[in-house]
């Protein structure tokens, strides 16, 4: 009985040790690839075995829910990109649905949430500062939405639809005046070396097309300019 107990304890210890070493090796492989480990492994094992090893390590990390490349703030950057939904009305004016991450525009009249944009880049190009507190999740989502080249994506489509729902809530008749809706990325340059943040530019990312979205807030036909 005592011998059986000892055998069991020894076997358990071996299993635990194997698990620990496998886990650490997977974590190490997953992270080391991004700091030159991929080249070292390719040289050591060959490209295909190295790729297979990476796939195995990734599977293990995903199963343990510990897959993460630890590179927070490895590049800090000199600007922020923020999504903005631009509504073009039939009369030629624009409404900008600004992100809550976006700092307040210093020259904007108080109490006005949405502005028409002919003067946007000129008079209102100086930004103030938000008190950034507790908005981390939406900031992450908006960064992911706006990241990447101009193209359609379901993440962008969902985001535009969500902003439009909020804008049209209680007043869906406003949508009858829409000509087209676009998603634009606004670049805000951080102060360098001092002064307030400034508008750095705007980049078009996607045109919203309600044909692709049965959940669009209101059934209207938007102009689709390719």
């Amino acid at each position: 009985m005592h011998a059986l107990k000892l055998c069991f304890r020894f076997a358990w210890a071996l299993c635990v040790l194997a698990f620990c070493l496998l886990h650490i090796a997977s974590l190490f492989e997953f992270n080391a690839r991004y700091v030159g480990g991929d080249k070292a492994l390719d040289w050591l094992l060959g490209e295909e075995p190295s790729a297979e090893l990476h796939e195995c390590a990734s599977k293990w990390c995903r199963a343990c829910a510990t897959e993460q490349r630890w590179n927070m703030f490895s590049t800090v950057g000199a600007s922020s990109d923020i999504p903005c939904v631009v509504i073009l009305h039939k009369n030629g004016t624009r409404t900008l649905l600004r992100s809550e991450q976006e700092p307040p525009l210093l020259n904007m009249p108080s109490g006005l949430n949405y502005i028409t944009s002919t003067e946007y880049t000129e008079a209102q190009s100086e930004f103030g500062w938000n008190f950034n507190c507790g908005n981390g999740r939406l900031r992450k989502l908006e960064s992911n939405v706006i990241d990447g080249p101009a193209s359609y994506s379901s993440a962008r489509l969902n985001y535009v639809r969500w902003r439009m729902r909020g804008y049209l809530e209680g007043r869906p008749e406003l949508a009858d005046d829409f000509l087209r809706v676009d998603l634009v990325s606004i670049r805000i340059d951080h102060p360098d070396p001092d002064g307030p943040p400034r508008l750095g530019g705007a980049t078009w990312k996607m045109q919203y097309d309600e044909r692709w979205d049965s959940d669009w807030p209101k059934q209207i036909k938007l102009t689709r300019i390719p």
């Binding site: 886990h23 950057g77 922020s80 500062w129 950034n132 989502l141 379901s154």
Partner: protein, 473 residues
């Protein structure tokens, strides 16, 4: 070879006290409760619902990647997800109070991972670190200390058997995994920062200045005026600390300073930047490096329930020391300190072996319950975990461990100790004589003999004065 194998086996399977794991568990539970309650529960429809920001069916390809898993399908309703978040909060309470601890940790890990995989767009490094922490917590028997589970099991054991409560220790391997995770996190983060070379923000010294100007993350603009040159040394020091963290934490001598620096870094990040709960989650891992004896000292009780006190040996003849003693007594809100007279030689020789009378006349000594003793500034620093004022003024506590600050602190202590005669106002002749003997002199055998003679005279004078009846008789 045998020694190496023994050390390897010791590293993974040695019995560790459960108190650091319990502190880790409670901290993660608090973070989870706040995160789930404040950011997930009020926004379930927004993050996960069909009318929200995410269409789960569009991400089937991501969820279906080998190894990835989750409890929720693309068509799982918002109501079910809302109950899942409530279940997550219930697990968090289980972790905080140590109720059904193992089950709570497993449930928290499974639920949080499933919710994360339902909408990965809202996740940050803090979320991944939290669920990693829950993974390691599910492997740890953290219920063995500071938990309702242990309390209840102990009572059951006493009622149904003659055994005492469950042991407050467990095999080290699960804690080691979490410790290694933290080392890998810092090490690889540092390497990724450095690999951009001098074109990158870190090696050119501008990273912290840029972070303080990051308009959508930096909390306020108060520090955006700080010039790059002023923050460059801190940037380089932080980078060096991150890369060297795995080595610094392994070596016992550098471990306290390494952890103290990390506490200050993450507190600074939290105060200046909106990075969700990252600072609190990563600081939870720090508990796993704090010796159990320190945690027990803060709690004030040993594993067997006996009270733990720090014994402070000081010069009762010195007015500066007496004043310090009165200050410490005022700050000792939890009654953790016991004061001893260094002139009681038999007591001191028994309690502080190898410490001479001269050593004790030069500096205050503190004896910890684990038998270690410290003198001078190190003694002051040792008292900080058991004085609640330093839990509030924790930056001072952390700074006291940093190289540079600790050297300055030690130099200030030595200066005051050597020159206390100049700052003391004596109220008795023996006090004045005592300080005159010590002031500015090398404490050699002759001086010690004079101090002993002075105290013997004082003791005899006290005895005669205290016994007038016997004198007249």
């Amino acid at each position: 070879m045998r020694a190496m194998l023994a050390a390897f086996s010791d590293f993974w399977f040695k019995a560790l006290p459960a108190h650091p794991a319990a502190a880790f568990r409670i901290t993660l539970g608090l973070v989870l409760m706040l995160d789930a309650g404040a950011t997930l529960l009020p926004n379930v429809a927004q993050w996960f619902g069909p009318l929200g920001l995410y269409e789960a069916s569009d991400y089937t390809w991501w969820i279906d990647r080998p190894g990835r898993w989750g409890m929720f399908e693309a068509d799982t309703s918002v109501e079910v997800l809302r109950w899942a978040v409530i279940g997550l909060m219930a697990s968090a309470y289980g972790l905080i109070f140590g109720l059904c601890t193992r089950l709570a940790a497993l449930a928290a890990f499974v639920l949080l991972t499933s919710l994360h995989h339902r909408n990965p767009n809202i996740l940050s490094a803090a979320d991944i670190l939290l669920r990693s922490g829950l993974f390691y917590l599910a492997l740890m028997p953290s219920w063995r200390a500071w938990s309702l589970d242990r309390l209840m099991l102990g009572r059951l054991a006493r009622v149904w058997t003659n055994f005492g409560p469950p042991a407050q220790a467990f095999s080290a391997w699960s804690v080691r995994l979490a410790q290694v995770q933290l080392c890998l996190l810092y090490g690889f983060t540092g390497l990724e920062k450095a690999q951009h070379g001098f074109d990158g923000d870190w090696l050119n010294g501008s990273a912290i200045a840029r972070s303080l100007r990051f308009v959508t993350i930096a909390r306020v603009d108060w520090l955006s005026w700080v010039p790059v040159r002023a923050t460059a040394p801190v940037t380089w020091l932080t980078l060096l600390w991150e890369i060297a963290f795995p080595l610094l934490i392994v070596w016992r001598r550098t471990r306290p300073a390494t952890l103290a620096f990390g506490v200050l870094v993450h507190a600074g990040i939290f105060l200046t930047m909106e990075v969700t709960h990252f600072s609190f989650t990563i600081l939870a891992f720090y508990w796993l490096f704090v010796p159990a004896s320190v945690l027990m000292d803060m709690r004030g009780k040993s594993q067997d329930g006996t009270r733990r006190h720090y014994r402070v040996f000081y010069d009762t003849m010195c007015p500066v020391c007496n004043k310090a003693r009165r200050q410490l007594t005022r700050l000792d809100w939890l009654g953790r300190l016991r004061f001893e007279d260094l002139h009681d030689r038999s007591l001191c020789e028994a309690s502080l072996p190898g410490v001479s009378y001269a050593d004790q006349l030069r500096a205050m000594y503190v004896l910890r319950p684990d038998g270690q003793f410290f003198s001078g500034f190190a003694a002051v620093r040792t008292l900080m975990p058991v004085l609640p004022i330093f839990w509030i003024l924790w930056p001072l506590w952390m700074l006291a461990w940093l190289p540079g600050f600790s050297h300055v602190g030690a130099a200030v202590y030595r200066f005051i100790a050597r020159n206390r005669f100049k700052y003391a106002a004596c109220d008795s002749e023996v006090c004045s004589l005592h300080l005159k003997l010590l002031a500015g002199r090398e404490l050699d055998e002759e001086v010690i003999a004079q101090v002993i003679a002075l105290h013997e005279r004082f003791r005899q004078a006290n005895t005669k004065g205290a016994a007038p009846e016997s004198a007249t008789a």
